[in-house]
Every structure is written in structure tokens, then in C-alpha cells.
């Protein structure tokens, strides 16, 4: 395709540009609230990306925020009761989430889509209720006295920590999806019978992807525990999982970049720019959801794909002295 020359460079350049902007941002803007919202955006982005990773295999992890909570509470309890340092508790939280993901996945991954989705929804509720009812997890009120990651008052070191952590998780999940592992998962999603017949152990792969997704969301959850002053069960309830799903759908579930686009739009923008609306602020994400649902069902990534095809085609042809002809990309 003639346009391949430009086309190939757009994505990497945009990506590097974004990373550079994020890296120098604290030097330009020092508002602690901005940094705080960005940190949460990084965390939720990893939550959304890992949510989407699990959906590649055709499963819907409606307990995903609960697994973030498992990571957070594991790290919080290890820190508060055992006084273990963050560089131990954070991996611990991730591993705990991964293991519980496997424990859950083992009996439930064999269920078909709807029942797996409902099963994970109920499982997430079970985790929420259990955490709310035990004294050791602080009940409804939550856990405090967790050792913070950095002794500084400023949020800047936290910002860079979470930026690097989010990049790490994103790259790790990218590799997972775009290797043969991802191909096998997509094969399983299309036809588990067919996948079996070529030798793919579809049960094992399904458990694997759940474990991986839970591991990474547990990882950011555990890190979150060392940032926030208090860990409460309401941060990780069903509503939180639904919003993670929304971040994915807004951006577009069919594209890896979807959740990375969706989280800033649906979380960061309302949270940072419209927080002064106070009680009215949830209307903003609701409106965004409505707009996307009616106008851009494939999510923003789908829109960008369409724009990419149509307008860049015309741009290319115009730039090269050829009149605008019919669109050449096949949709």
C-alpha cells in the first residue's frame, strides 16, 4: 500500500511523544491534585488494559476490581501487621491476586460465557462481602497505617513510580497479546472446539489469561495500597469493575489502545476538569457514555481507525499531487 510509509511511523511516534509528555509533565505542572488524578489514571488504565486482555479469550472478568482489591489488601495487611517493606508486599499482592485468579478460574473457566461472567460477578461480590465482614481487613471502614512507598510529602516520586509501573504492565500485556499466546486465545474465543483440535489446551489457556490479568491488576492494586492513606472495600466493588469495563468500551474493546484511550477520557477528564461540579460530576461520564454508545459504538479507537483510513488517504493523495479519489482501504 502506497501509504504504508507514513502509516507505519504514526503509531510509534505518537506513543513516544505521549511518553515524553508524561515524563516531563511534573516539571511543568506541579499541582498535587493533577498528579494525584494522573496517578489514579495510570492505575485504572492498567486495570482496564488487563481487563481487556482477559476478554480476548471470550471471558468477561466481572470481578476485576475485586482482584485489584486482593492485591491492595494483601499488601496492606502484610505491611501493617507484619511490617514487611513495599518491595516485598507489592509483588506479594500481585502473586496473591494471580493465585486466587487461578483458584477461581479452575472450576469456573469451563463454564460458557454468560455463566462465567455471572460467576465472576458473584465471586467479586463474595470478596467484597468477605472483606467487609472481617475485622482483620478493617470491615467497611478499611485499613490504615500502611507504610507509604516514599517518605516524601510530594507526589512527584509517586507519579514517576506509577508511570513506570503502568508502562511496564502495558508493555508486558502487549507482548502477551501480540505473541502466539494471544493468537491462541483469540482462536479459543472464536471456537474452543476448533482450537482443541489443533492441540491448544483451551482450558489451560483460559486459566492462564485470567491469572495474568489478575496478576497485573493485583500488582497496581498492591502498589496503590502504598500510596493511598486508607484502603477501603468500596474502592474495589462491583461498581468499580463496571467502570473499568466502561473505560475499555469507550476506547474500543477491539483495540489494544482502546483502554489506554478510554481511561483518560472517561476517568481523567471528568475527575480533573469537572470535579468542581461536586455532586453533579457523575453526569459527565454518563454523558460521555451516552455519546459513545449512540455515535461511536466501536469506541474511540474505532473512530480513529476510520479517520486513519479516510482522511489520511485523502491527505496522502492530495500531498502527492493526485486528486482525491475513492477510498482505498477496505473496511
Amino acid at each position: 500500500m502506497k501509504r504504508d510509509g507514513i502509516n507505519k511511523w504514526i503509531k510509534p511516534v505518537a506513543l513516544v511523544g505521549l511518553i515524553i509528555i508524561l515524563a516531563i509533565l511534573p516539571l511543568l505542572f506541579s499541582s498535587p491534585y493533577l498528579l494525584h488524578v494522573l496517578i489514579l489514571t495510570f492505575i485504572y488504565t492498567v486495570g482496564a488494559v488487563s481487563f481487556r486482555t482477559i476478554t480476548i479469550s471470550g471471558q468477561f472478568p466481572l470481578a476485576h476490581a475485586a482482584f485489584m482489591g486482593i492485591g491492595a489488601y494483601t499488601a496492606a495487611m502484610a505491611s501493617r501487621y507484619l511490617s514487611w517493606p513495599p518491595w516485598v508486599t507489592i509483588p506479594m499482592g500481585a502473586i496473591a491476586a494471580g493465585i486466587i485468579g487461578i483458584v477461581f478460574g479452575y472450576p469456573f473457566a469451563r463454564l460458557r460465557t454468560l455463566y462465567y461472567a455471572m460467576g465472576s460477578l458473584f465471586f467479586g461480590m463474595a470478596i467484597t462481602y468477605i472483606v467487609q465482614s472481617l475485622k482483620i481487613t478493617g470491615g467497611y471502614v478499611g485499613l490504615t497505617k500502611i507504610q507509604p512507598l516514599f517518605s516524601s510529602v510530594s507526589r512527584v516520586p509517586y507519579y514517576y513510580f506509577f508511570l513506570v509501573l503502568a508502562l511496564f504492565c502495558t508493555v508486558a500485556l502487549y507482548r502477551f497479546e501480540f505473541s502466539r499466546i494471544g493468537t491462541n486465545l483469540k482462536a479459543i474465543a472464536q471456537s474452543y472446539q476448533l482450537a482443541s483440535s489443533v492441540g491448544i489446551d483451551e482450558a489451560r489457556y483460559r486459566i492462564l489469561v485470567v491469572a495474568v490479568g489478575c496478576f497485573f491488576v493485583g500488582l497496581v492494586g498492591a502498589a496503590f495500597a502504598h500510596y493511598t492513606p486508607i484502603v477501603t472495600p468500596s474502592t474495589f466493588d462491583l461498581s468499580a469493575t463496571l467502570w473499568l469495563a466502561m473505560y475499555v468500551l469507550i476506547g474500543g474493546i477491539n483495540s489494544f489502545a482502546g483502554p489506554i484511550i478510554g481511561t483518560p477520557i472517561l476517568y481523567f477528564i471528568p475527575q480533573y476538569y469537572f470535579s468542581n461540579l461536586r455532586a453533579y460530576s457523575p453526569f459527565i461520564p454518563a454523558v460521555i457514555l451516552i455519546i459513545i454508545a449512540y455515535l461511536m459504538p466501536k469506541g474511540l479507537a474505532g473512530l480513529i481507525f476510520m479517520l486513519n483510513s479516510r482522511y489520511l488517504d485523502r491527505l496522502w493523495f492530495r500531498m502527492n499531487g493526485k486528486g482525491a479519489t475513492h477510498a482505498t482501504e477496505n473496511q
Binding site: 460467576g119 467487609q132 466502561m246 474493546i253 459513545i292
Partner: protein, 286 residues
């Protein structure tokens, strides 16, 4: 013995509430495959609105009830036309619009009415004395009302023209359309009815127990539990399962305190789901 009577009463009332609210969800899901995540929030919003009319403004309970039910029946029509019908078959968009509706309803309730727990003033004062024991009248009336409504709904589904069309659509939507059934009209009626039932359930809950701002989410989970255990596609199953779950929710808190009883309930349900995912009365979803 006192405890037994109380528990029995609770069981029947809870069963009635959950059956009513779940039927509304089941109508849409079984018939059109619409997964209305906002159904719990509709239930909650109706309860709070009734509190506004009855508790805050001071209208008579029954008038308040009727007004809210009519308003929510209208909401059901609106939602069906603009939010459900366009998205039939597209699960992702249904969830998106559903979450948006949840956010709008919860925020509106928060702004207009408040985010505390309230109780709607009781509909019927006094208690019925039977020997040494007594049952509150409002619970008896609630259960009776629930029973009457249920009977009406059953008659509607089995005997009326609309009900039969509804069953036809549930079994085979294309076949039904080919037979000349106006799907849009039936789905509008059914959606309206479903929201009305949810409204009544919410008002009952708010009057007999309490309104809390999170009751929408919790009830959504209970609805899903009921539907899944009953089996997708079965309305009868909703009634039987509702009674069973009503018994469970009424008795479990006696044995285990607080949030732990919710945890145990959900774990029990998870085990059942593993053993028999397709539920007990419905057909299997592939």
C-alpha cells in the same frame, strides 16, 4: 416462636420484593435479550422518589405510591424506545447505556433527595394480634399486595393477548414478528410493566425496611442471582427461586451477623452455579 413468625413474615415479604423486581428484569432479558444493568437503580430511585412525595412532601402513602408507579411506568416506555430498542443484540452498548442510566439516576436521587438512608412512612399502621403473637399489618398488606400483583402478572402473561405475544417473542422473536406480532408495542408494554413492578418493589422495601443509596447495586446482584439460579427463559422459575432465596435471605442473618451473611449467601450461590449453571427451571444458554 416469635422469632419464627417474624422470620416467616420476612421471608414472604423479601420473596415478594425480589420476585417483583426480578420479573421486570426477566421480562426484558428473556424476551429481547436486553441486559438492563440499571434495573436495580430504577428500583432504588422509585423508593427514594416515593420517600420524597410521602415522607418529605407529605402526600398520602397510597397516592404517592400510585404517582410514582405511573411515573416509572412512563420511564419504562421512554427507556424502551430510546435506550433498549436501539441496542437489541449489542450487549456492549446495552451495558454502556445501562451504566449511564445508573449514574444519572443515582446522581439525581443524590441531588434531589439526599444520600442518606430513609424510611418511607408506613402504609398501614398497627399490628395483627393472633393469640400471644403479633404481626405488623403493613407486612401482611405488603405480602398480600405482592401476591395480588403476582397473580395479575401471571394472568397477564398466560391469558391476555399481550402476554401470549410476549411468550411467543420469548421463544422465537423472528417467528413472532413474521406472525404479525408488533414487537415494539409488546416490548414497550413489557418494559413499562417491568419498571412499574420494580417501582412497587422499591417502595415496599423502603417502607418495610429501609432505603439506602446502595440498594440498587446490591439488588442488581440479587436479581442476577435469582435469574441465573432460576434459569434463563423461565418466569415460573423466578417465582419458585424467589421464595427459596427469600427464605435464604431471611434466615441467614439470624445465624451469621452482618456482611458475613451476604458473603455466605453468595458463596452458596457460587457453589450451586458450579453444579448446575443453567439453573433449575430454564433452558441452557450456549
Amino acid at each position: 416462636m416469635e422469632v419464627l413468625i417474624q422470620t416467616l413474615t420476612n421471608m414472604l415479604v423479601l420473596a415478594a420484593v425480589y420476585i417483583l423486581v426480578s420479573l421486570g428484569f426477566a421480562f426484558l432479558f428473556n424476551m429481547l435479550g436486553i441486559f438492563n444493568v440499571a434495573h436495580g437503580s430504577i428500583y432504588m430511585a422509585a423508593g427514594y422518589l416515593a420517600y420524597l412525595f410521602i415522607g418529605a412532601i407529605g402526600l398520602n402513602q397510597w397516592i404517592g405510591l400510585i404517582i410514582v408507579v405511573i411515573l416509572f411506568a412512563g420511564l419504562g416506555l421512554f427507556l424502551e424506545k430510546f435506550c433498549f430498542r436501539p441496542f437489541i443484540g449489542d450487549f456492549n452498548r446495552q451495558i454502556m447505556i445501562g451504566v449511564a442510566i445508573i449514574a444519572i439516576l443515582e446522581t439525581s436521587v443524590n441531588i434531589l433527595i439526599g444520600s442518606q438512608m430513609y424510611i418511607i412512612p408506613t402504609f398501614v399502621e398497627g399490628t395483627l394480634a393472633a393469640g400471644a403473637y403479633s404481626i405488623a399489618w403493613d407486612r401482611i398488606v405488603a405480602f398480600g399486595l405482592g401476591g395480588v400483583l403476582l397473580a395479575i402478572v401471571i394472568l397477564f402473561v398466560n391469558r391476555s393477548r399481550w402476554g401470549q405475544q410476549m411468550q411467543a417473542i420469548t421463544q422465537n422473536i423472528e417467528g413472532a414478528a413474521l406472525q404479525g406480532i408488533n414487537i415494539h408495542r409488546v416490548s414497550a408494554i413489557v418494559s413499562s410493566l417491568g419498571c412499574a413492578l420494580a417501582a412497587i418493589a422499591g417502595i415496599l422495601m423502603g417502607s418495610l425496611y429501609t432505603l439506602d443509596p446502595f440498594m440498587g447495586d446490591g439488588t442488581l446482584v440479587k436479581i442476577l442471582i435469582l435469574i441465573i439460579l432460576a434459569g434463563v427463559g423461565s418466569f415460573k422459575g423466578v417465582i419458585y427461586m424467589g421464595l427459596l432465596l427469600g427464605a435464604l435471605y431471611a434466615t441467614l442473618p439470624l445465624l451469621i451477623q452482618g456482611a458475613a451473611s451476604d458473603a455466605v449467601a453468595v458463596v452458596i450461590i457460587l457453589v450451586i452455579l458450579l453444579i448446575r449453571p443453567q439453573g433449575f427451571f430454564g433452558h441452557e444458554v450456549s
